[in-house]
C-alpha cells in the first residue's frame, strides 16, 4: 500500500515534469528577446515588452535586472540582445549604440507656504549636510529646516548625490522616505520641509493642487518641458544599448520603445517621454 503510493506519486511527478518540458516543443517557434541592465529602466522595459508581445504573438520579451554596468557589459558580450542603462554611455563604451527611450529628472521641492523662492547649489549642499539648519539663513522664516532624504537603494538618491557630489553618510536627514508620493506628502504636511522627487511626479501633483513648489536649479525651472529639452541639469537619459546596428526583432523593439505608442507607459513610471 505504501509502496504503491510512492510509485504513483513518482509517476505523476515525472509526468508533470515531462508534460511541462513537452509543451514548449509543441508550440510554434517562439522568438525570445533578452534585455538586461538598469533596475530603474527594467520595470518600464517590462511594461513596454508586455505591450510589444500583444502586437507580436510569437515573441517573448525577457527583462532581467542587474544595474546599468551589467546592461552595458551584457550588450557588449552579446549575452543580451539589448542592454539597459539609466545613464549616458561613458567614453570607453562608445563602440556601443544607445537609444534614449525616456528621461528622468529630479526636482528639489518645498512647501508652497515657504517664502524661499530659490536655493543655489551650495545652499542645498549645506542644508543636506546639516551646515544650515534654519530657513532664516537662506532668506526664509525663522524656522528649523526638516531635511527629507530618500532611502538607500533609490536611484533618485544616487542621481541626487552624484549631482551634488555628496555621500549618503554625509547627509543629515530628519525624515527618510521611500517613494515619490511619500516625499510629496511629507513636504505637503510640513511647511519647513525640503525634499527631492522625480520631476514628472512633482509637476503632476502640483498641477493637481498639492501644496508644493518646484525649485529651479542653476536658474533653470524644474519642469517636464526642461527635462524633455535636456536643459534641466539634474536629469539623465534612460537608454537601450546595443552592440552594432540593431536588426530584426531588436530593431523592431527599439523602434517601438521610442514611438509615441508607449508614452503612457513611460508616464506611468514617472519618467518623461522623449520628444518625437
Amino acid at each position: 500500500m505504501k509502496k504503491l503510493g510512492i510509485v504513483v506519486t513518482l509517476i505523476v511527478l515525472i509526468g508533470a515534469v515531462w508534460g511541462f518540458l513537452r509543451t514548449q516543443s509543441n508550440e510554434p517557434k517562439i522568438e525570445k528577446l533578452v534585455l538586461t541592465g538598469s533596475s530603474t529602466v527594467a520595470p518600464l522595459a517590462a511594461e513596454i515588452g508586455k505591450r510589444f508581445e500583444l502586437l507580436h504573438s510569437n515573441v517573448r520579451v525577457d527583462v532581467q535586472t542587474g544595474g546599468s554596468s551589467r546592461g552595458v557589459s551584457d550588450a557588449r558580450a552579446g549575452l543580451a540582445d539589448i542592454g539597459m542603462a539609466s545613464r549616458a554611455l561613458k567614453d570607453d563604451e562608445k563602440e556601443l549604440l544607445s537609444f534614449t527611450v525616456a528621461l528622468d529628472g529630479i526636482s528639489v521641492i518645498l512647501n508652497k507656504a515657504n517664502p524661499v523662492q530659490s536655493l543655489n547649489k551650495q545652499q542645498i549642499i549645506d542644508i543636506y549636510t546639516g551646515k544650515i539648519v534654519n530657513w532664516k539663513d537662506v532668506g526664509g522664516n525663522d524656522a528649523p529646516i526638516t531635511v527629507v532624504n530618500k532611502a538607500e537603494g533609490r536611484s533618485t538618491l544616487e542621481l541626487f548625490l552624484h549631482y551634488f557630489g555628496l555621500k549618503n553618510t554625509e547627509i543629515k536627514p530628519q525624515v527618510v522616505i521611500g517613494d515619490n508620493q511619500q516625499g510629496i506628502k511629507t513636504v505637503v504636511g510640513n511647511p519647513d520641509a525640503i525634499g527631492y522627487v522625480s520631476v514628472g511626479t512633482a509637476e503632476y501633483e502640483a498641477s493637481q493642487g498639492a501644496a508644493i513648489k518646484l525649485l529651479p536649479l542653476e536658474g533653470i525651472a524644474a519642469s517636464v518641458e526642461n527635462v524633455r529639452n535636456r536643459s534641466f541639469p539634474l536629469s539623465r537619459p534612460l537608454n537601450l544599448v546595443t552592440r552594432g546596428e540593431p536588426a530584426g526583432l531588436a530593431k523592431d523593439f527599439i523602434e517601438f520603445a521610442g514611438s509615441p505608442q508607449v508614452n503612457d507607459l513611460i508616464e506611468a513610471q514617472y519618467f518623461v517621454p522623449v520628444p518625437h
Partner: protein, 278 residues
C-alpha cells in the same frame, strides 16, 4: 530569593521581546497587506510594474522554483546523510572533510550562490535565466542545512535499534528503511522546513538565475520571478509599489505556513503508516 525572581523576570522579558518582535512584524504586514489581498490579486498577472494587477504568475514561478530545488536537493542530501551517519565511521577523514565543506557551504552568503548559479547553470550549462537554473542554485544552497539536520536526526536514533535489527538478521538497507528513517522523520521534516524557509526567502541567489520576468511560465526553461524578488523590486525600485509589496509579503508568509503544515501532516502520516506496516 530576590536574585531568583530577577532571573525569572529577565528570562520572561527576553521571551516576550522575541515574540513581540515577531508579532509586531506580522501585524505590520497584515495591516498593510490585507486591504489589497483578494482572490483576483492571487490569480491575476501584475500590471503597471506590479503597482496594480496581481501576483498569479509569480506564485506559480515561486512554487516551481521551490519544487525544483526540493526535488533535487532532498534525495541528494538524504543519501549523503545516510552515508555520513550509517556507512562510514564518524571520525573518518572523508567524513570530516565532507562535514567541514558542508559547514563552509552553509556560511557562504547567498549572493555568492547567485553568482555561481549564474556562471554555472545559466551560462556554462546554457540553461539561461530559467526556473530550472534558479531551482538548482537554491538546491545547492539548501544542501548543507538538509544534510546536517538529516544526519543529526539519524545519529540521534538509539544504537539499540541497529543492534537489535542486526541480531534479528535484518539487512542494513531494511534497517535503514523500516527503522532508522522513520525514527528520524521529525528531524528530516524539520530540516526540510528550514530548507524551504531559506529557499523561499531568497532574493539575491534568484535575481541572477531565475530572473525578473513576471509572465506566466510555459516551461521550466522560462525565466520566472520569485515572490521575494517581486517584493524587493516593488519596495526598492517601483515608486508607489509599497502596497503591493506588503500584500505579496503576506502571501509569502501564508505560502510558507501552508507548505509547513502540509509537510508536517505528511510526516505524521508517513510515521504512522511505517509503524503499522513495519
Amino acid at each position: 530569593m530576590f536574585k531568583n525572581a530577577l532571573t525569572t523576570l529577565l528570562i520572561w522579558l527576553t521571551a516576550a521581546l522575541v515574540s513581540g518582535v515577531f508579532v509586531w512584524l506580522l501585524a505590520d504586514i497584515i495591516i498593510h497587506g490585507l486591504p489589497k489581498l483578494s482572490w483576483s490579486f492571487l490569480v491575476e498577472a501584475p500590471e503597471n510594474a506590479g503597482r496594480s494587477g496581481g501576483i498569479g504568475p509569480i506564485i506559480v514561478s515561486t512554487v516551481l522554483i521551490l519544487g525544483v530545488a526540493m526535488v533535487t536537493a532532498t534525495p541528494l542530501s538524504l543519501a549523503t546523510a545516510v552515508l555520513l551517519s550509517e556507512f562510514i565511521r564518524h571520525d573518518s577523514v572523508f567524513g570530516r572533510l565532507v562535514r567541514r565543506s558542508l559547514d563552509v557551504l552553509a556560511g557562504v552568503p547567498s549572493i555568492v550562490f547567485g553568482l555561481f548559479g549564474n556562471a554555472f547553470f545559466c551560462i556554462y550549462l546554457g540553461l539561461g535565466f530559467s526556473i530550472l537554473s534558479g531551482g538548482l542554485t537554491l538546491s545547492c544552497m539548501v544542501l548543507p542545512i538538509l544534510i546536517r539536520t538529516a544526519e543529526e536526526g539519524l545519529q540521534a536514533t538509539p544504537n539499540d535499534y541497529r543492534l537489535s535489527a542486526s541480531a534479528l538478521g535484518m539487512s542494513r538497507s531494511a534497517t535503514l528503511v523500516h527503522l532508522l528513517l522513520p525514527a528520524a522523520t521529525p528531524a528530516l521534516v524539520a530540516g526540510l522546513m528550514l530548507g524551504v524557509g531559506r529557499a523561499v526567502a531568497e532574493t539575491a541567489a534568484l535575481i541572477f538565475t531565475s530572473g525578473y520576468v513576471d509572465r506566466m511560465p510555459d516551461s521550466l526553461f522560462d525565466s520566472g520571478r520569485a515572490l521575494s524578488v517581486h517584493i524587493y523590486d516593488l519596495s526598492m525600485n517601483v515608486a508607489g509599489g509599497d502596497a503591493s509589496a506588503y500584500s505579496s509579503a503576506l502571501v509569502l508568509i501564508l505560502l510558507l505556513l501552508i507548505i509547513n503544515s502540509i509537510a508536517l501532516s505528511l510526516a505524521k502520516q508517513w510515521l504512522h503508516r511505517s509503524v503499522v506496516t513495519a
